[in-house]
Amino acid sequence: MRNAMPNTSQRLRIALPAWGRFVARAARALVIAEGHPTTIGLTVPDRGYAAALAAAQIVLLRDRALPMAPSDLDRHVAALRALEPGAPVEIQRRERVVPATFEGFSGDGEDELMHVRGRADAALSRFPVRSARMVRIADQSAGAAAATARKVHRPELVRALRGDALALSFVTTTRLDCLIVGTASRLQEELFGERLFVSANPRDEVSGCLQDLVRAEGCAGASRYWRTQLVSSASGPGDETGALSPHTVIFDGGRGYVRWRHCWPSAHQLVVLDRSAPSAQEAAYEMSAEFAGRREGPESGALARLTIPASLEAIAFERAGA
């Protein structure tokens, strides 16, 4: 994100502006926050792109910090051990995901291997257990579609930022890193509306859109594997979404914060209030009340050492009772 370069209509690349860099840094502060759930509140003259940029940063940093956490690996291996021989799985071969059948484990300790046979070519592959993420249990609900090899599209922006191997894992795994409560149509416009370059060099054409990084479920490119969910601030979360445990919830606008902030009590919160919207006032009152009852700690909290641009307000605090 630090190097992301939005273009302009004249095809001139401009560096991410100061406010955008600050939003990304605030998001980073939540990714590395320790202890109690933290709220960062921002007020901006227009809330455009703030939530999308923050979500991209959160997903990217979470993937860097926890590409596949050991606990996840253990859980995944345990799930594979529970499979019957012959169970359908999928294996990664370069940039393709191919259907296969699981045949079992051999050896033990660090030499333990998994045996998987490709369904089309019947070739037997052996994977060390530490590479278990190369093997996925097939999605039974996908039916016939799952039995066909498919090419996985790894956006060049992701490949540039995460490297080839990790990019494949990034786009073929699901984890709820971020949940955005806002206006779906507006967010989608932002996720796809702007081309981001990784370099200011005009000869470097590597680019992509925010959705490549945010991976919002249901939006193009993230129908099956995703990292972010969108919740309408008007209708709120359904029972299923309300029961999720996202790492961070971004409230894109005051209305969602006022109505749904009680959901996901253990998540960090990034609240973006648009100072031009009437809802900002009420949301600011609510946040001030939360701030007044915050946990004791250093006043600047998660935003310590960050220079706040003159166009926005920012507060950070650990929530009491969360």
Binding site: T8, D46, G48, Y49, G193, R275, S279, F291, S311, I315
Partner: protein
């Protein structure tokens, strides 16, 4: 789009705003006379007699401060106002001798202003020597409409605060002190330069730019402190510090007059009146909504660029909410839609509904709600109390929430087959719910396709939803005011728009 957002952040980082004070002896004399009348009357100013006199005087003061045209122009309505109040102003010497002087001053000042070709606000505007894209900002829709209709301002972009926040300009010239505009005008500036033009005797306030308690760095504040007046053209007038707070100028709804006008159209001596809240809408209509027992109304939420139509408790409706009503025909369009869906069966079900309601209402009228509540409790109802009994007997509502209460009612009114009636009312209830969902969906589609700008500009818009035919369109209108107290009105007056006489509220 990212470039636009960045440009707005840039504006927010280095905007500047200045206040330019405008002087005019005649307007100041008139304003001082009105202020003296208000101050002299104190709380009596709210009494009907004085309110009737003061309303046009205050309105003229507002027009003079927000209409950048020559004072004698018909748009300012000086001559019209003088004609309307001159007799009453003369009578002040008899009604309140202590106020005879300001009353005479007001009349005299108006007589002078009526012929005046002076254009203090227009001159100040021209003196700014503006370049680039310029927007003229007026405090409300009415003032903006007047400015747009003014030939002298032809070609200028006239905006209200809501419209301003959707655009971006080089310079914004606002007519009035900062206190007359909502905070977002300065909290989210849409121009690098803002100029507030207003009369020198109005005292502005310092706006509260910060929203967050505990904000870790001050947000940019480019507002220059209010300058001192260069000269007082009428030094003998009292010190404006004492009487010219900016809020005093802003048009207020005269609720006594509005309620009086509203009640004059109602049915007199109605049986079983309901207590309802009167709302004044931006479209100029009034609307009564029952407030008790969590009654809900449809509202359109158009904040934050998204349109949402949802139900909101009437008690929670506030000034600025957009309420959905119907322009003609029965206010209850949900009932009509439900009936259409039920087809021929609707008539039978409505007869059943009216039947048990009528029997219960007859009993309540004959014995009183409290006595009937006791009888219902004895018959097994757990929720029967005076308030619920009245609600159950009212024409609204289809059946009780719990079957045990309904059984008790059937037992008391002598209904032979409670189970069958409960089921029939359930059918009606489901049709109502489906109709509600349909209206919500259709309206949402219609509003989403429509131009929000018009709705925001005028404060109201009509939507002809094809599927909801019959009389009248659905009207979405901003609530301009909410009556401070409930009024007893006939049930038939609920949820039906009615025009408010022009002038019963100031704008």
């Amino acid at each position: 789009m990212l470039a636009r957002v960045s440009a707005l952040h840039d504006l927010a980082s280095d905007w500047s705003a200045e206040r330019r004070l405008v002087e005019h002896a005649g307007v100041e004399t008139y304003s001082a006379a009105v202020s003296a009348l208000l101050k002299g009357l104190g709380e009596q100013a709210d009494e009907d007699y004085w309110a009737e006199l003061l309303r046009p005087l205050r309105r003229l003061r507002w027009l003079l401060a927000t209409t950048p045209v020559p004072i004698g122009d018909a748009t300012c309505e000086v001559a019209e106002t003088l004609q309307a109040v001159v007799r009453d102003l003369r009578l002040v010497r008899d009604q309140a001798p202590g106020l005879a002087r300001p009353a005479a001053q007001a009349a005299e000042a108006m007589a002078g202003l009526g012929d005046s070709q002076d254009d203090p606000l227009g001159d100040a505007l021209r003196g700014l020597q503006l370049t680039g894209t310029v927007a003229l900002l007026l405090p409300d829709n009415h003032a903006a409409a007047r400015a747009r209709a003014t030939a002298a301002l032809e070609g200028a972009e006239v905006v209200t605060p809501r419209e301003l926040l959707r655009g971006q300009y080089g310079t914004v010239v606002a007519f009035g002190p900062t206190a007359w505009f909502p905070e977002p005008v300065l909290r989210a500036p849409r121009a690098r330069r803002l100029v507030f033009l207003y009369y020198g005797w109005i005292r502005d306030r310092e706006p509260q730019l910060e929203l967050l308690t505990g904000n870790q760095a001050p947000v940019h504040n480019g507002l220059v402190p209010e300058p001192p007046r260069s000269a007082r053209l009428v030094p003998e007038l009292p010190d404006p510090e004492e009487h010219c707070s900016p809020e005093e100028w802003i048009p207020q709804i005269d609720w006594a007059a509005v309620l009086r006008a509203a009640s004059s159209r109602g049915e007199q001596g109605v049986m079983d009146p309901v207590h309802a809240r009167l709302f004044v809408l931006a479209c100029g209509d009034g609307l009564y909504l029952e407030e008790r027992d969590g009654t809900k109304a449809y509202v359109a939420d158009i904040d934050e660029g998204e349109v949402a139509v949802r139900q909101e408790a009437v008690s929670a409706l506030t000034q600025g909410s957009f309420v959905v009503t119907r322009t003609a025909g029965e206010g209850d369009y949900i009932r009509e839609l439900a009936d259409r869906e039920l087809g021929k069966r609707a008539r039978h079900l409505r007869e059943l509904q009216a039947g048990w309601k009528r029997k219960l209402r007859d009993l309540v009228e004959a014995r009183g709600a409290r006595a009937i509540a006791y009888r219902l409790q004895a018959a097994g109802s757990q929720r029967a109390d005076e308030s619920n009994v009245r609600r159950w007997a009212s024409a609204e509502g289809i059946r009780t929430a719990h079957e045990s209460d309904f059984d008790a009612i059937c037992s008391v009114i002598g209904e032979p087959d409670p189970g069958r009636l409960w089921q029939a009312m359930g059918e009606l209830d489901k049709a109502h719910k489906r109709a509600g969902q349909l209206v919500r969906r259709l309206l949402l589609e219609e509003i989403a396709q429509a131009d929000h700008a018009e709705l925001l500009k005028l404060g109201w818009a009509d939507f002809d939803v094809e599927e909801i035919d019959g009389e009248g369109a659905l009207r979405v209108s901003r609530i301009a005011g909410k009556a401070p107290e409930l009024t007893a009105v006939a049930r038939t007056q609920l949820r039906t728009l009615f025009p408010l006489e022009a002038g019963t509220w100031q704008e």
